[in-house]
């Protein structure tokens, strides 16, 4: 028994009131911050989008340019996300299951897209594939268009979303350890069987989680795509670029209508993310599950 028990009851009461007041102040501050910086802007997007009524809203979306931007965004996501899944699994498998030289370098490299400004990423691709870039002359000789065309947009998006799956899987696979895989090998399973029957089922939730983050980023990516896209309406504009172009043309209602689609995608992402967290235990303390042995 120390200090606490020795305090007179009035002092204890005062301390507990102080504690409670302090907690209230913090909670209120956090809520106000959330309201001003998150809820209000999101609400503003939808208010602006619907300010001229539903008819105007749906007309703004059912425009050839907006629909084509939507299709392109979907296409880019459909290509870059599976690529990232494959890369993410391969990298995490290599990093968590094998010892090799240059491993820490690889871990660092995976994080580069997060550290580099997306604009720089876009410029890198222009430097390599652009008309005056390293591969430009050769590409134009063979009539291959990368910059200011869809392949460039896909490349830029792949670069920017590179780390999401791997960063999700590496800590998860490290925590799980390789015991189950070793057990499968000793039981006679070949690499294929080990992957499909043991590894993949074990990482599926973390993989899905990372994939959703990568998808959200690939849908919303602006900077890198903006540099390589060339802003050709109906051909190389993704949804975020379309929003910017509409906005610059003072077409606010249409800009916000398109923006509301991106916002909806973000909300769907959040809901999916939360659902995965709740159903699978991904991103919850691992120890709790392991201790009971």
């Amino acid at each position: 028994m120390s200090g606490r028990g020795a305090l007179p009851p009035s002092a204890l009461l005062r301390a507990s009131i102080q504690q409670r007041v302090g907690r209230m102040v913090l909670i209120v501050a956090a809520l106000v911050f959330l309201a001003v910086f998150l809820v209000l802007p999101v609400a503003a997007v939808f208010t602006q989008a619907l300010s001229q009524g539903w008819k105007m809203y749906s007309d703004s979306i059912y425009q050839e340019d907006v629909l084509s931007a939507l299709r392109l965004t979907g296409l880019v996501a459909c290509i870059s996300v599976p690529l990232n899944m494959v890369f993410g699994i391969a990298a995490s498998w290599a990093i968590t299951r094998f010892e090799f030289h240059g491993k820490s370098l690889l871990i660092t490299l995976i994080d580069i897209p997060l550290a580099v400004s997306p604009v720089v990423a876009g410029l890198m691709y222009v430097e390599i594939f652009g008309l005056h870039g390293w591969l430009g002359p050769w590409l134009s000789e063979h009539n291959l268009h990368i910059i200011f065309a869809v392949p460039g947009i896909v490349l830029a998006t792949v670069f920017v979303t590179f780390p999401f799956v791997a960063r999700e899987l590496i800590p998860f696979m490290q925590a799980q350890g390789s015991d189950e895989e070793v057990a499968a090998v000793v039981l006679g399973a070949n690499g294929w069987n080990v992957f499909w029957r043991v590894t993949l089922p074990n990482i599926k939730w973390a993989l899905l989680y990372g994939t959703i983050l990568a998808a959200a980023r690939s849908i919303g990516e602006f900077g890198a795509v903006s540099v390589v896209s060339g802003h050709i309406r109906g051909q190389t504009t993704t949804l975020p670029l379309e929003v910017e172009m509409l906005y610059n043309e003072y077409n606010f209602t249409a800009a916000f209508a398109a923006a509301s689609l991106l916002t909806l995608a973000a909300i769907v992402t959040l809901v999916l993310k939360k659902t995965i967290e709740l159903t699978s235990g991904v991103h919850q303390p691992v120890e709790e599950k392991e201790v009971q042995s």
């Binding site: 015991d179 189950e180 070793v182 057990a183 499968a184 090998v185 000793v186 039981l187 006679g188 399973a189 070949n190 069987n193 029957r197 043991v198 089922p201 074990n202 599950k289 009971q292 042995s293």
Partner: protein, 362 residues
């Protein structure tokens, strides 16, 4: 299937995990690899399994060089310390795994697999758990599933890596007895890695003791307990008291009478706590030291006394059976004579020629 371990070396960087370890495990035998952590016992097991490759040396399975075969082709059952059950599969799927992943031409038909799984779950007494998932089972049950899974592929060798060390004491003891019974039924050549000497001595046909990557001794539990080959083995197999003394040259009785005492060298004698005798009277041969009683632990069939040697203050632990303890009726603080009924020296000298120093014990 017999296992020959021949001159195995293994280094991790500058750390020597195994240095020139050779041993033979006969077909149908249960051998325990016993040693403290870092002694190389798990490394040796993983090398036998093919999960690690030795820097040098060879593993012969049934007289056949196996170092070339990968782990998946050695026909080995492996049981891990932390079970390593497939967490997303049911218990019966876990047990069936080894059969289901076999190449098509060797894979038994579904019906056979199902029967084999049932048979094994019956063997490990978990019939009613077939449709549960590993996380719904207790540690002891999980380890039994792991054993059933390992046995499903009819391994010629069963390797167990500290299989019971994550379990609590009572379950550990049960599983240990149970493992021995299963081994007696199936006669699979089995290697068990453990750091628990009691477990090794109780379960194994033979025990191999490893220390710092070297094989210290191999033999039946009784032979290594009764005649340990080195101070390390002696120490590792149970509690020990060290008595410092001097070895006298082989003096004839008349020389001794003349008082020409010749100290040849100092030596250390090893004595187990239960080999100590305590008395208020000096023994007939006068070979005893005086110690004071520090603490008495009287719970259990054996009474353990912590003593302190008068003079050097070195601690000595003695174990008496209850009747002797009650006869003596010692109390803490009291001084008694202590002498070993038997004492072991490791430099080839005759224990009878050891004169104990009063400053004895460590």
């Amino acid at each position: 299937m017999s296992i020959h371990v021949e001159h195995i070396y293994k280094h991790y960087g500058s750390f020597t995990a195994l240095a020139d370890v050779s041993l033979t495990i006969d077909s149908g035998e249960l051998v325990a690899l016993l040693g403290p952590s870092g002694s190389g016992k798990t490394t040796l097991l993983r090398i036998i399994a093919g999960l690690e490759s030795p820097d040098n040396g060879a593993i012969l399975l049934h007289g056949e060089q196996s170092t070339q075969h990968s782990a998946s082709k050695r026909g080995i059952g492996f049981v891990f310390q932390h079970y390593a059950l497939f967490r997303h599969m049911t218990i019966s799927e876990n047990v069936a795994f080894g059969l289901r992943v076999q190449p098509r031409q060797h894979r038994p038909p579904r019906r056979v697999i199902r029967e084999r799984v049932q048979e094994l779950l019956h063997l490990v007494q978990l019939d009613s758990y077939a449709q549960m998932y590993p996380e719904q089972l207790s540690g002891g049950q999980r380890q039994r599933v792991a054993l059933a899974r390992a046995l499903a592929v009819k391994p010629k060798v069963l390797l167990l890596d500290e299989p019971f060390s994550a379990l609590d004491a009572k379950v550990r003891k049960e599983l240990r007895d149970w493992l021995r019974r299963i081994h007696d039924d199936l006669h699979v050549t089995t290697v068990l890695v453990t750091h628990d000497q009691e477990e090794a001595l109780e379960v194994a046909d033979r025990v191999a003791i490893l220390n710092q990557g070297k094989l210290e001794q191999i033999g039946t539990p009784q032979s290594i307990y009764d005649s340990p080959a080195s101070p390390f083995v002696y120490n590792f197999l149970g509690n020990v008291n060290l008595f410092h003394g001097r070895l006298l040259a082989d003096l004839s009785s008349e020389e001794r009478g003349s008082g020409a005492e010749q100290t040849v060298q100092s030596a250390i004698g090893f004595v187990r706590p239960h080999e100590l005798e305590l008395s208020r009277k000096l023994p007939p041969d006068w070979k005893a030291v005086v110690a004071s009683v520090v603490r008495i632990h009287a719970a259990g069939p054996q009474v353990r006394l912590e003593l302190s040697i008068v003079g050097s203050g070195r601690p000595v632990t003695a174990e008496l059976d209850r009747r002797r303890y009650e006869e003596l009726a010692l109390v803490p603080g009291e001084e008694v004579f202590v002498w070993p009924q038997s004492i072991r020296l490791f430099d080839g000298a005759d224990a009878k020629s050891l004169l104990l120093d009063q400053g004895a014990g460590i």
